[in-house]
């Protein structure tokens, strides 16, 4: 404390403060705190991973007495994963989840990109109203109206179909908003020059606007993908056919089974985390920046 006051009154530069003992202790304490928080967040995931690699009964069996064996298995096995893929057909559910999420991304972008483009460059009456309708309408999570929508989809005979799983997830309000925000940053002179050269709007959009907005496209794709990948209520309501069911529900089914096996459940829960983990680690920068500070990019 005294050290800090003297450095402050003499107006010393931050570098000299950093070398002072008080500063060093502060950094050490903060590092310990950061490490403790990090480990606290990671620990349940590690426990799940190690639990999925031991016989299912040991997940709870090893709790008492509490020792390092509670976390680290003494018997290592891949039986849980073998059972997930062989007996429970979890691979099929994972493929279904992947298919639904990927097609949703494709359809979602095919729908959002032209919409955002039209709402950026074209002038027509009611433009801001349409923009607000699309963004607000698609920002209300579709879970909110999933129940009446499931009844409607059943009437339309879209229950137990991939199309039925895909459709509600293709609209994303934030995706449309972010895309327009990026498109507004593209100089209007580029489009005017292209029009003079005889290019139509479709060509201008695909050759000029889209290549300049890769970050916004990745961000929108991720929003749609993650929304569909973690969807739970909608597939629960719409799909009863195991063959078409997605991974999130398949895991929940094993949880509600009477003879549940915690090792298998952990394995399944980790398997559905792998795809988002890879995507987020690779694309994290694109994901975070454009939502937190979309104003500065536009």
């Amino acid at each position: 404390m005294a050290v800090q006051q003297t450095t402050r009154s003499t107006g010393a530069l931050p570098e000299s403060r950093r070398r002072s003992p008080g500063r060093w202790v502060g950094t050490a304490l903060l590092t310990v705190l950061a490490a403790a928080i990090g480990v606290a967040f990671l620990l349940p995931a590690v426990w799940m991973l190690l639990g999925s690699l031991r016989p299912g009964s040991e997940v709870i069996g090893s709790v008492s007495p509490l020792s390092w064996r509670t976390l680290v298995p003494d018997t290592w096995t891949l039986d849980n994963y073998v059972a997930l893929f062989a007996d429970l057909g979890f691979g099929r559910s994972l493929v279904n989840s992947l298919l639904v999420a990927l097609v949703s991304v494709l359809l979602g972008l095919a729908l959002s990109v032209p919409a955002a483009y039209a709402l950026t460059v074209l002038r027509f009456p009611g433009r801001e109203g349409v923009f607000a309708l699309l963004v607000v309408g698609f920002m209300v999570p579709f879970e909110a109206i999933a129940i009446p929508m499931a009844q409607l989809f059943t009437q339309w005979q879209l229950d137990n179909t991939y199309l039925g799983l895909i459709l509600p997830g293709i609209g994303n309000g934030l995706a449309i908003f972010n895309l327009r925000q990026f498109f507004r940053g593209v100089p209007a002179s580029l489009r005017e020059a292209a029009i003079v050269d005889g290019a139509g709007d479709f060509r201008i959009m695909t050759r000029i606007y889209v290549p300049l907005s890769v970050t916004a496209l990745i961000n929108s794709a991720l929003l749609i993908f993650l929304g569909q990948w973690s969807a739970y209520l909608w597939p629960l309501l719409l799909v009863s056919d195991q063959e078409k069911q997605v991974a999130a529900i398949a895991i929940a089914r094993t949880f509600s089974d009477t003879e549940f096996n915690f090792g298998q459940m952990f394995g399944g829960a980790l398997l559905i985390s792998v795809v988002p983990a890879i995507l987020l680690l690779l694309l994290q920068r694109h994901f975070a920046t454009s939502v937190a500070s979309s104003g500065e990019k536009g």
Binding site: P14, T27, A34, G38, F41, L42, P44, A45, W47, I60, S64, L66, L111, A115, Y117, A118, L122, R123, R127, V130, L133, L134, V135, V136, M139, V140, P141, F142, E143, A144, I145, I147, P148, M149, Q151, L152, L167, I170, I176, I195, G198, G200, F202, R203, L233, I251, A252, F262, M265, A269, L270, I272, S273, P276, L280, F287, A292, S294, G295, G298
Partner: protein, 329 residues
């Protein structure tokens, strides 16, 4: 083969919007009338393009949002005579609303949902902010601690529910740790006093890291010069947090707060999977209530009424979110 190619080039010529490959093959036709409109930059052209480009999105919002919403709103005006999904329906004006809004169980659910959100969202965002500020400091191993906190946010809610559903069991490892510390075991999901808190843990384990992704992005954009200026003015870490970081982060903070509220208002998985709304209704929220009324109690009209109330609240929150986004322009 040639017929197909000819057909294709003719179609693209007619559309007046040549797509990449066939353009050079087609002989130039200066008098083609359909080529004219695209040369004329006017309102009519804009409007036609707008209809084409916005068509799919507008069709989607009508089919996937407005029609289901209107259908639900309409069905709230009917009552079922008898029990079950096949019972006859009778127009009943606002009887469903009267019934729901005078039902203490529903009012309890409504209040619980609002109170839960008023507590969990600020707490989650405050924790996410605190951890973000800590993890943007220049500390040894910073990248590693960040990844550690981010790992859970890749776990879908159903995975978090499974993990904590097992961890917080009576004979689970959390109680194991409590016992090792000499503390009494806790009932967690099986106690009306602790079940809601346990559900908040399920949501926060994955939520805090997720919102951190956004907050750290915003923190990195706060100019370092502001901190240096504050430091020269004699501000310590605590002071510069409140007078530099918080004012500069106001918009990202408000945005994630509202987005978090939107997400948690429809929280459903942990209730469906772990508590079934209990014990003693202590974890029944609007979304789960609507689900249970519709599918378990076979009261779809009352379920739709609950859905309508939920959707209207969501719309109000999303409108705030939209305003926040627009303000950044």
């Amino acid at each position: 083969m040639s017929a197909a190619a000819h057909d294709r080039s003719q179609r693209t010529a007619l559309r007046g919007r040549p797509s990449a490959p066939p353009q050079p093959a087609a002989p130039p036709q200066p008098a083609a009338p359909s080529a004219l409109p695209r040369r004329r930059p006017g309102r009519g052209r804009d409007l036609r393009t707008a209809v084409l480009f916005l068509g799919p999105a507008l069709a989607a919002i009508v089919l996937l949002r407005l029609i289901p919403f209107a259908g639900a709103a309409y069905s709230t005006l009917f009552e079922r005579v008898g029990v079950g999904l096949l019972a006859e329906q009778r127009f009943a004006w606002f009887a469903n609303y009267e019934r729901l809004l005078s039902d203490p169980l529903f009012l309890g659910t409504l209040w619980r949902t609002i109170a839960f959100n008023l507590v969990i969202n600020p707490v989650q965002i405050a924790l996410a902010m605190a951890v973000s500020v800590l993890l943007v400091q220049h500390l040894p191993g910073r990248g590693l601690w960040r990844v550690f906190v981010f790992v859970p946010c890749t776990v879908p809610l159903v995975g978090s529910s499974v993990a904590w559903g097992v961890a917080l069991r009576q004979d689970g490892p959390v109680n194991g740790v409590l016992a090792a510390l000499g503390l009494a075991p806790q009932p967690f999901f099986t106690s009306p006093q602790q079940a809601l808190f346990s559900i908040a843990v399920v949501a926060s384990w994955i939520g805090i890291g997720y919102w951190m992704l956004f907050l750290i992005g915003g923190l990195n954009e706060v100019s370092q010069e502001l901190y240096e200026a504050a430091s020269l003015d004699g501000a310590g870490r605590w002071r510069s947090f409140w007078s530099v970081t918080v004012p500069m982060m106001k918009r990202p903070l408000l945005f994630v707060l509202v987005a978090d509220t939107v997400a948690n208002f429809v929280l459903f998985v942990p209730m469906q999977l772990l508590t079934n709304g209990g014990p003693n209704e202590s974890t029944t929220m609007l979304m789960f209530d609507a689900y249970r009324r519709t599918y378990t109690y076979s009261q779809p009209n009352l379920g739709a009424t609950a859905i309508l109330i939920l959707t209207l609240i969501m719309l109000a929150i999303v409108a705030v979110q939209f305003r926040l986004l627009k303000e950044e322009d």
